[in-house]
């Protein structure tokens, strides 16, 4: 315990190469936010292209240079933008930015530990992530452009530099960056699992863990089990690209040249990729659900409804997430029998998801709701989780997937259920734990403005996409003007773009609020939200080692809000049970 906090700290050891989990959390958050802003601005660019395809836009030339000569965006640049937007959002923002930030910040604080099991491995995890981010950003500036084969980088498109400019050096950098990223994820994940299993304070049994901890714990296990498979997929792809192997390549003639590769199958890559890719969706959404469970309970001043069912559904979702991956592949020519199996397992996920949604709604019922910005974003998450989850019932059904596969219906579905939900969870987490990170409060009114502009523009962006999809519009089209059948859809596209730009602009309110509050925000009190979990028993000063004296013991679950017979409407976990008091 005493190895922390007592040595002299200079700028570098405090802010850069810190092993303090709270500092590492902030590093993850700031890097994640940077990547998020870049990815969001990319989406603004390609949405502007889709609203007025073919019309020269001087801004494109200003920002993209030779990739938009005369203001007309190059189709390859369009594909590069959607590819990097997806990669950054899924991995760098919603995996590292979300899990990395809040697992690091909250795990030691909520389980009563002075730091992570290994502070060094934790710092290493961040620095791998940082290098991986830098490499990904460098790939944006190279002459042949960044990876552009879609964020799923299916070979042979991604394997053959002849296939598109982005499959050259850009793809190599993508692969290197992602390998480092996975390393970061694994180091972080192992640390989270070990810390939660071994370093819980006295009295904190698994059944008294806050739901945030359960969510981060299961998320870390998912990551540790599935990310290595992505590395194998990536390694085989590197072999195919650079060493002449044929894992994914067979019988190909490209640019008039017959390749000698024989016997490989791109479908192998798809299986490997989605074996990570699907659990990844839950790696993204589970932490957000954990965060909102905590926030909704605290701000409803009510216990989370059905704690055990919530834990059970997290575990259920996580288990099922490993046996549904091929629902991304119904129409790849995979055996129809496999299609049946994966339809069955996929639709089962709706059950634990429904349980979670109902439990959230019931937690609000008869509550005394305190609408902090964090609470609003959490309610927003419940709404988007339901809306997006429901359309999953359509997409998970192999027979229906035939006609909506890879259309805008899919884009609408996953942006709402995992994009918006996870971002809402992340924003809720920032608003809620900002006082724990910086000792100050974020501005409430700006938070309200941010929430309302965000939820309106977010639904305005992604809800209409379902109609585009049902009209048969494929995703990843540089322009919808090549087919007369899509001419009527241009109005919808313009509405979508308008909302996307509005939503992006609204995020600057958040950024302003965030950075302004770090330096000038109102000073926080120790427990501003009157919350039960252990992090609010630490001093506002955020010292290395977390608690100045002894680490508190735990006597109850974290959801004793408005418990009859108590003096206040909350009883922190470290308050012993009164005589005759029952544990919920």
């Amino acid at each position: 315990m005493s190895e922390h906090g007592h040595h002299e700290e200079n700028f570098f050891s405090k802010y850069v190469f810190s092993t303090d989990h709270k500092m590492i959390a902030k590093q993850f958050l700031l890097t994640g936010m940077t990547m998020g802003v870049i990815a969001m601005l990319m989406s603004v660019l390609f949405r502007m292209q889709l609203a007025n395809p073919g019309e020269p836009n001087p801004m494109f030339e200003f920002l993209l240079g030779d990739w938009a000569k005369g203001g007309v965006m190059d189709p390859n640049m369009y594909l590069a933008l959607v590819t990097i937007h997806g990669t950054l959002m899924v991995f760098f923002v919603l995996t590292a930015g979300l899990s990395g930030t809040f697992s690091n910040l909250l795990i030691p604080l909520q389980i009563g530990a002075d730091d992570m099991a290994s502070g060094f491995i934790n710092a290493l995890s961040y620095w791998f992530f940082f290098i991986s981010s830098v490499i990904m950003l460098i790939s944006l500036g190279i002459e042949t452009g960044p990876a552009s084969g879609g964020w799923t980088i299916y070979p042979p498109l991604s394997a053959l530099p002849q296939a598109m400019p982005g499959s050259g050096l850009g793809m190599t950098l993508w692969l290197v960056s992602m390998t480092l990223f996975v390393t970061s994820s694994l180091l972080g994940g192992l640390n989270y699992v070990v810390t939660i299993l071994n370093l819980r304070t006295k009295g904190l049994s698994m059944t008294r863990l806050p739901l945030t901890m359960w969510a981060f714990f299961i998320t870390a296990i998912l990551g540790v089990l599935s990310f290595p498979v992505l590395v194998s997929a990536v390694l085989l792809l590197i072999f195919d690209r650079s060493f002449g192997t044929s894992f994914y390549l067979s019988d190909i003639m490209i640019q008039g040249e017959v390749l000698s590769n024989v016997g490989g199958s791109p479908i192998l890559y798809e299986h490997l990729f989605w074996f990570l890719g699907h659990p990844e969706v839950y790696i993204v959404i589970l932490p957000a659900l954990g965060i909102t469970s905590e926030i909704i309970s605290t701000n409803s001043r009510k216990p989370i409804f059905g704690y055990r069912a919530m834990v059970g559904s997290i575990i259920g979702i996580a288990f099922l997430s490993f046996i549904v991956w091929a629902h991304h592949m119904f129409i790849t020519g995979m055996s129809p029998f496999l299609g049946s199996v994966f339809t069955f397992t996929t639709l089962l996920i709706a059950i634990p998801s429904a349980v979670k949604s109902f439990n959230y709604i019931t937690t609000l019922w008869k509550g005394n709701l305190q609408f902090t910005p964090a609470m609003l974003f959490s309610i927003g998450l419940v709404s988007t989780f339901i809306t997006g989850g429901l359309t999953g019932i359509i997409l998970g059904d192999s027979a229906l997937d035939i006609n909506v596969h890879d259309t805008y219906f899919v884009v609408g579905h996953f942006h709402i259920v995992m994009g918006l939900s996870a971002i809402f969870g992340m924003l809720a987490g920032v608003y809620h734990w900002f006082p724990k990170m910086y000792g100050r409060m974020m501005n409430k009114k700006l938070g309200y403005a941010h929430f309302w502009l965000t939820i309106v523009s977010a639904y305005g962006t992604f809800f209409p996409m379902h109609y585009l999809g049902l009209a048969g519009l494929p995703r990843r089209y540089y322009s919808n003007s090549a087919f007369p059948m899509f001419d009527g859809l241009q109005d919808i596209n313009q509405i979508v773009t308008f909302c996307a730009v509005l939503g992006a602009a609204a995020q600057f309110i958040f950024l302003y609020n965030f950075f302004y509050s770090i330096f000038r925000g109102e000073e926080a009190v120790q427990n501003p939200w009157k919350s039960n979990t252990l992090e609010w028993t630490t001093p506002v000063e955020r010292i290395h080692g977390n608690w100045p004296g002894e680490i508190p013991s735990v006597y109850r679950w974290p959801y004793d809000y408005s418990k009859p017979g108590a003096d206040q409407d909350f009883i922190p976990q470290n308050v012993p049970l009164k005589e005759g008091e029952e544990e919920h």
């Binding site: 129409i331 059950i351 609408f371 359309t391 059904d397 109102e522």
Partner: protein
């Protein structure tokens, strides 16, 4: 320039908002109110806003559906597509009902239970009965959906009547499609990328194609040999020798491919027809076979509810029966210019968005007439 001004305007607007908020903050400070505290007034305002949002959200859902319904895909032009559409309406109906129940409840509860200082929340931690109900109800509903969905799926994927299906191959390459008809024997010959050349766009392995390709090769080989014997520059000579070796290797590959291909497949190839349009006879089972030359493509025929990936090195297929001719669909949609389309729906490179194939569904007579006008493989190579 305008863009720059817009950006400047946005920045100024944000700073302005920030300053206004700062004034509020200072005012609060003077009054001794903590800005971050959630007051009853905040809860009241936000609760009402949530309710308003909920109402507008549901209203705009109905509005969008009413306004954009006519833009959605028209009736299915294939037999199995009708089943898909029916399953779709059932599933869609179901999720819309759940949507219309849960969203209003969520926003209504948010409004109804908005916080007040003088109220306390009820301590309700769980309710086993309720939880069993909302686990069991979705489970039952989903069981029905799964069973119905799987039935539809297995009907679509059913291959038992494949015998009399018209076999047509769709071949994808960056960035266009080629179609191969099986000819009178309804049997496609073998194919290999190494046979692609000239008019043999999909690499059909046939004796006539072999004869033609090797004749060309032989001519070139002889020419190169002659050039080599006359070449005085050593460097150029080496280069030409390398070219010669390559051509000879190609000839060997072609020879071994032809000699290892079963005789009946070679014969089956001779009446294959390669074209750039997809004509389909109405009311006949069609087995579309898919291959790709370079990267993964996906052949998407939205009006027939047909989609299947074209994977290099692999054969995929989809069996369906078109039920409406192009003419009938024009009447159905009230659009005189209506055309069926086949589009690429798997990212495949720069011109992915414009990789189209003309699709025409016509009566069997018209189809046969059209097919008879096309050149068969053996004639192509003469």
């Amino acid at each position: 320039m305008t863009e720059l001004l817009i950006i400047v305007a946005i920045v100024v607007a944000i700073i302005a908002i920030g300053q206004v908020v700062r004034i509020f903050e200072l005012a609060n400070k003077i009054k001794g109110i903590k800005e971050s505290d959630i007051t009853d007034k905040d809860n009241d305002t936000q609760g009402k806003l949530l309710l308003t949002f909920g109402v507008l959200f549901i209203a705009s859902f109905f509005l969008m559906t009413a306004k954009w319904n006519h833009l959605l895909l028209p009736v299915s032009a294939s037999e199995h597509g009708v089943d898909i559409d029916f399953l779709m309406s059932i599933s869609m109906g179901l999720i819309i009902v759940v949507f219309l129940i849960t969203q209003p409840i969520l926003f209504y509860f948010s409004y109804k239970y908005r916080g007040r200082k003088d109220r306390t929340a009820s301590f309700i931690s769980h309710n086993d009965k309720l939880e069993v109900v909302w686990t069991a109800v979705p489970a039952v509903v989903l069981t029905v959906l799964i069973i119905y969905g799987l039935q539809t799926w297995s009907n679509i994927m059913d291959r038992s009547d494949i015998g009399d299906a018209v076999v047509v191959e769709v071949y994808g390459q960056q960035f266009n499609w080629t179609v191969r008809y099986a000819g009178e024997d309804n049997n496609l010959g073998a194919s290999n990328v190494r046979f692609i050349g000239g008019l043999n766009l999909v690499g059909v392995v046939s004796e006539s194609s072999y004869t033609q390709q090797t004749a060309d090769l032989d001519k070139n080989i002889a020419k190169t040999k002659l050039q080599i014997s006359e070449e005085l520059n050593a460097n150029k000579r080496v280069k030409k020798e390398a070219r010669l070796a390559k051509m000879e290797a190609k000839k060997n590959t072609l020879t071994s491919l032809v000699s290892t291909t079963p005789k009946d497949l070679l014969i089956a190839a001779e009446d294959d027809i390669i074209v750039k349009e997809l004509h389909l006879p109405v009311d006949k089972s069609i087995q579309l076979k898919f291959r790709s030359q370079d990267v993964i493509h996906s052949a998407y025929l939205p009006h027939f509810r047909v989609q299947m990936n074209c994977v290099p090195g692999m054969n995929t297929d989809f069996v369906f029966k078109p039920t409406l001719t192009t003419e009938e669909m024009r009447v159905e949609t009230g659009n005189e210019d209506f055309e069926y389309v086949l589009l690429c729906n798997k990212i495949c490179g720069g011109a992915h968005y414009n990789m189209q194939l003309k699709v025409i569904v016509e009566s069997e007579e018209d189809y046969n007439k059209w097919l008879a006008e096309q050149t068969v493989m053996s004639a192509l190579n003469n």
